[in-house]
C-alpha cells in the first residue's frame, strides 16, 4: 500500500475521480500497471504541491479499461505503452497506436503480461 492511496471500485468512479482531481489542480504524473490475481492493478499517480495522490484500480481479467486520456491528454502514451507490453485494450484512447507504440508486428507479444 502506497502513501496517500485511494482504492477505486469501478471505471465510472475512476473517471469521476480523475475529473475531480483535474478540477482540484492535480497534475498527472504517470500510471503503473502490475499483474494481480489474473487481472491487473493500475496505480494512477497525481501530484499537487509536491504531494502525491495515488488511485489504485483493479482491472478484472478480460475487462477493457477506460482511458483517462480524454481528461488528461498526456495519459495517452502510457496507456498505449501498456497496450503493447501487457496486451491490454483501452477504451476511448485519444490516439490509439493499436499495440504498436514500441513493438513491431514481429516483436514478442505483450512481453510483460
Amino acid at each position: 500500500m502506497l502513501e496517500n492511496e485511494v482504492e477505486i471500485k469501478s471505471s465510472a468512479e475512476l473517471l469521476k475521480t480523475v475529473e475531480g482531481l483535474k478540477s482540484d489542480g492535480y497534475r498527472y504524473a504517470t500510471m503503473i500497471c502490475l499483474k494481480a490475481n489474473e487481472g491487473h492493478d493500475f496505480i494512477y499517480i497525481f501530484e499537487k504541491d509536491y504531494k502525491l495522490k495515488n488511485l489504485r484500480y483493479f482491472v478484472k481479467p478480460g475487462e477493457k479499461p477506460k482511458s483517462v486520456s480524454g481528461i488528461y491528454l498526456c495519459a495517452l502514451l502510457i496507456e498505449n505503452e501498456y497496450q503493447d507490453l501487457f496486451g491490454l485494450t483501452f477504451e476511448g484512447l485519444a490516439i490509439d497506436y493499436k499495440g504498436h507504440l514500441y513493438l513491431t508486428p514481429n516483436s514478442p507479444k505483450a512481453p510483460l503480461a
Binding site: 497534475r27 504517470t30 509536491y50 488528461y72 491528454l73 498526456c74 502514451l77 502510457i78 504498436h100 507504440l101
Partner: protein, 358 residues
Amino acid sequence: MTTVIPFGPQHPVLPEPVSLKLEIDNDVVVGALPSLGYVHRGLEKFIDTKDYNQTMYICERICGICSALHGITYCMSVEKLFNVEVPERAQYLRVINGELNRLHSHLLWLGLFADGFGFESLFYECWKYREGVLDVLERTTGNRVIHSMSKVGGAAKDLTKEHIDLILKMLDTLEPQVKNIDKVFVNNYTVKKRLVGLGVMSKQLAYEAGTAGPTLRGSGNAIDVRETADWDIYKDLGFKPAVEKDGDCYARTKVRINEIYESIKLIRNAISKLPNGDIAIPIKGFPTGEAIMRTEQPRGEVVYYVKGNGTKNLERLKIRTPTFANIPSLLLMLPGVKLADVPIVVLTIDPCISCTER
C-alpha cells in the same frame, strides 16, 4: 489542403531516433503525431533476471546523459523499501554527482540546440566547455558517462581532497565560459529572432499537459523535485528553481542556462558543507513492499516505482522519464508553427529517446 510530411526518425537535429508525422497546410503545421519504437530495449522486463543490486547498473544504462540520476533515483527508491537512511556524506556525494551530471547534460543540449539553428561555432564552444566537466567526472569516478557512484545503501565511491580540488578548479574555469555563451544565447539578435515567441505553451497548458523540467518551468511553473521532502539537503544548499514565464523556446533555453549557474552554486555549497563519515550503510535481506521516488533529472522529474516481494529480484520496476512526460506537449506546441521551426521546437523539450523507450 494538408500534406503529411515525415520528420525523423533520422534527422540532422535529432541525436536519437524519433519520428513525427506532420500535417502541413501552406508550410504551417496543423497536426503532429509522434511515433516511437526505434530504441525500445525492454529494460523493465530485463530486470527480471537481475538482483536488486545489479538493477542499479541497468538503470544507469537507460540513458547516457542522465545516467547518474537514474542510478541515484533507483537506489533511493529501494532504500525506501528497506526504510533506511543513508549517511549524510553519501547524500552530499549524490548531490555533487547529480549536479555535475546536470552540467554536462545542459551543455550538451545547448550545443545541440545551437547546431539545430545553424550556429556551428556556438555548438563547438558548448561542447568544448562540456569536455571540462566530463574530464572531471572521469578523474573522480573512473568513467565519463556511466559513473556508478551510487549503490543501494549510499555511495559506492568517495571523493578525495584531490578530487574536490579538481572539481572546484573546473567550476572556476567553467563559470566565466558559461557567461560567454550565455551572452550569445540570451542577447544575440539572430538567436532571439529564432526563439522568441516560438512554440509557446501557457503556464496552465504546460501544467495540465503533465510536462516536466525546463519545459514546465519555462512556462512559469516553479516546480522542481529538488524542493521536495525527499531532497531536504537541497534546502541547506540554498537551492532556488530556475523559472521563466514566457513559455517559448527562448524561455526554455534561459531556464537551462540559469540551471547551469544554479548547479555550479550547489556543487560549491555541497563541497563546502561536505560532512565527514561513512559513505554507505550495509543493507541486509531482500526488499518487500512498494515505493515511489522522484528526482529532478536535467530534462525534468523522473518517477521510479519499485515493488519487492522478499526475493532478490524486484517484482516490478517502472520508470516514467521526463521526455516521456514532455512528448505529448509537442501535440500542443507544434500546431501553428512553420515547418522550418519544427526542429527548434522539438529540441527545446531536450528529447531523450533512450530514456523514453527504455
